[in-house]
Amino acid sequence: VVALAVGDDTSYHDGVLTVGRRAAAELFTHPALVEVRICTASPGDRTRIIKALDAVEPRCKGADAAGEVFPGLLGPAQLCGRGETHVLRGAAVVSAGFLPRAQESVLQMSGPGAELSPLSRLHNVVAEFEPATDAPWEDVASALRLGVLRLAAHLAQAARGATPDGIEELEPLPAGTGELPRVVAVTNIQTQGAFKDVLVYGRSMAGSLPTWMDPCELADGAVVSAQYGHPALKNPTFVHQNHPIVAALRASDEVELAGVVLCPEPVAEREKRLVSEHSARLCAALGADGAIVTKEGGGNADGDVALKLDALEDLGILAVGLFAEMAGRDGTAPGLVVAPSHATALISTGNYDELVQLEATDRALGGERLGIVDAAASDAVELPMAAIYGSLNPLGWNRVTCAGEA
């Protein structure tokens, strides 16, 4: 996608995606939603999106492929990850507005602030919404989530007949030749109840033990975010569809990808220990030589990464963990809330507390006011990095990092 438009009918021609206003609105029909407005925000637009919730890449299955994307939500929860998948690269469907427990996020589409988030480089189809007065917030969130997924599939379907700009073949995972080190992407997902949950084949992983997943399942939407908190530290559906660690492992000819271990992030320490040891056990059973461990959420989730790194290294599986730092505004505080005791290879996705200045914009989507700084939504503002959508992405989506001044 190289340009977006909103029009009467949904269509895709030569990289221009037109979102059909009426068709899009119908996909959100639900008693919990009074109205949904579709707008667009493209890179370079003097636009700010506030209160951005989820971001989803438009995808659908090929006409001959069995099943549907987002199994368990748009169709039955049958195994996905096989057959043709159509992808509208360069675009995302973004929901924006108030939901409980969702700390306000900010996404700048132009100027220096746009350097801070990978989502700023995408053509965003933004769905603003008006909840029904007496609808429970859980219903609003669920209706919105389904609408966004339907819209993402609907947009991709419009391009199904177009000649693809590129074709990528994702091979089934090799069983292991013994020649290259086998590496697992251990992916922790948040499980903290309503508005802070992640759905796997349509259901929460809360209370589950970790499970193994073929990365192709992720590509077809087996994991969908229902986690709207932690703007900088969230993993929107988009990064599960385009798992950055999986992509980086696939791109390396020095390792063999041994799949994804998906693991919930329980809040109780003994549960954290339990799932960490089970994750390590799964990796051992997969014949892993190494693992890269990621999280979702704030300081609590540091514990999940730390425990897993130690548990993996205890089994002789070398491990790297991704952490955002909470090093204070001046960057002098200890950055990790919970650190591993002996695993030491850590990647920094940046300091959560450092302040950034954002230029004023011509318009804002997602709301009228930015409550965290009590400013109009399009004003010039100063905010901690923590508020910038996707900036410190725990799955390694972004380039922000943090280092001591020389």
Binding site: E254, I292, L346, S348, E354, T401
Partner: protein, 341 residues
């Protein structure tokens, strides 16, 4: 140089914990460690006065640094030297704050403490020189401090080789590659035998030795504290819901229960529904009053202290801890229940 030396009540010879409430005072010449420090300094320098203050007073009275600064000014020094405070938290905070106040007032200043002292972060713009962990290391600590004073007297800045400590600020920047790509490269390095490489060093949070149990709880004054951000309804003092920079106190006098609707949690890190429905789940005033009536505790402290423990910087939280300890000791509290969320 004319030097004024700052000490706590203990090193000034006033007394131990029983004298921790001592207000700021000044004496001519050297006291205690000041004598040993003077012996290390050449005849070009003279410690003309010693100012001191009780640890609790210094850590809990907001006016303490200004009061001390007035006493320091009275001796017209070229340099204020504070400490060494070793790992003592309240003393370290006091040294840091008085050195910072002097430096801001245009008086040269230097503090000395151990790198783990929570005061370290509050000394800016004054430099801090490393000291040992305990007073057993007084002598090498004073030698290093004396060397630093010599350096300062030559008009030079203190550097790492002088024993200067303080954290190197970490700044956000854009790397050439994504964190995911860097993670794969780091894992390859680790698989290749490099066990040192990392972008983040493991932090050292130190450890806290628990105090001995109180001997007679039936005679003890007990305080309730929480990091659950429990505040009166409407959050009148605007406590932050995350990344708190301060703490607050609220009255419990005359209160038997925390009624729903009278208090709320503004904590941004957990669902506050259950806590708001029954604030005792954050601050157990109900059972504490029962224990008080039953005589199982002597009395309940007349106010509770609260902050939001959510994304709070460690240095800030350690500072809160030192201030709370000083505050409670001043009030004669023997034990506290600190609820965490």
């Amino acid at each position: 140089m004319r030097i004024v030396h700052y000490l706590n009540q203990f090193f000034a010879g006033v007394g131990g914990e029983e004298a921790a409430g001592t207000a700021p005072a000044v004496r001519e010449g050297t006291i205690g460690p000041g004598r040993a420090l003077a012996a290390q300094l050449g005849s070009d320098h003279e410690i003309v006065a010693t100012v001191f203050c009780g640890d609790d007073y210094a850590a809990s009275e907001a006016s303490a640094p200004d009061e001390l600064l007035e006493l320091i000014r009275g001796a017209s020094p070229d340099l204020l030297v504070a400490g060494p405070a070793f790992t003592s938290g309240r003393y370290g905070l006091a040294c840091a704050r008085v050195a910072a106040a002097a430096a801001r007032a245009g008086i040269g200043a230097v503090a000395a403490m151990h790198p783990e002292n929570p005061g370290l972060d509050e000394a800016e713009p004054a430099p801090v020189i490393e000291s040992g962990k305990t007073a057993r290391e007084m002598r090498p600590s004073l030698e290093r401090l004396a060397g630093a004073i010599e350096t300062l007297s030559r008009g030079e800045e203190l550097r790492e080789q002088d024993g200067r400590i303080g954290k190197v600020p970490r700044r956000n920047r854009l790397a050439e590659r994504t964190a995911a790509e860097r993670a794969v490269e780091l894992l390859l390095a680790r698989l290749g035998g490099d066990r040192e490489r990392t972008e983040v060093l493991l932090p050292n949070f130190g450890s806290v030795t628990p105090s001995a149990p109180i001997e007679d709880s039936g005679g003890a004054l007990i305080a309730l504290l929480t990091e659950g951000a429990l505040v009166p309804m409407g959050n009148p003092d605007r406590l932050e819901s995350a990344r708190a920079t301060r703490w607050l106190r609220y009255q419990l006098e005359g209160l038997d229960r925390l009624e729903e609707g009278a208090f709320q949690s503004v904590h941004g890190g957990f669902s506050t529904v259950a806590a708001n429905a029954d604030p005792h789940r954050l601050l157990p005033l109900d059972v504490a009053r029962d224990l008080e009536r039953e005589g199982r505790i002597g009395a309940l402290h007349h106010e509770y202290l609260t902050t939001a423990g959510n994304g709070t910087q460690v240095a800030t939280a350690r500072g809160f801890g030192v201030e709370w300890a000083a505050e409670l000791r001043q009030a004669g509290v023997q034990a506290a229940i600190l609820t965490a969320t």
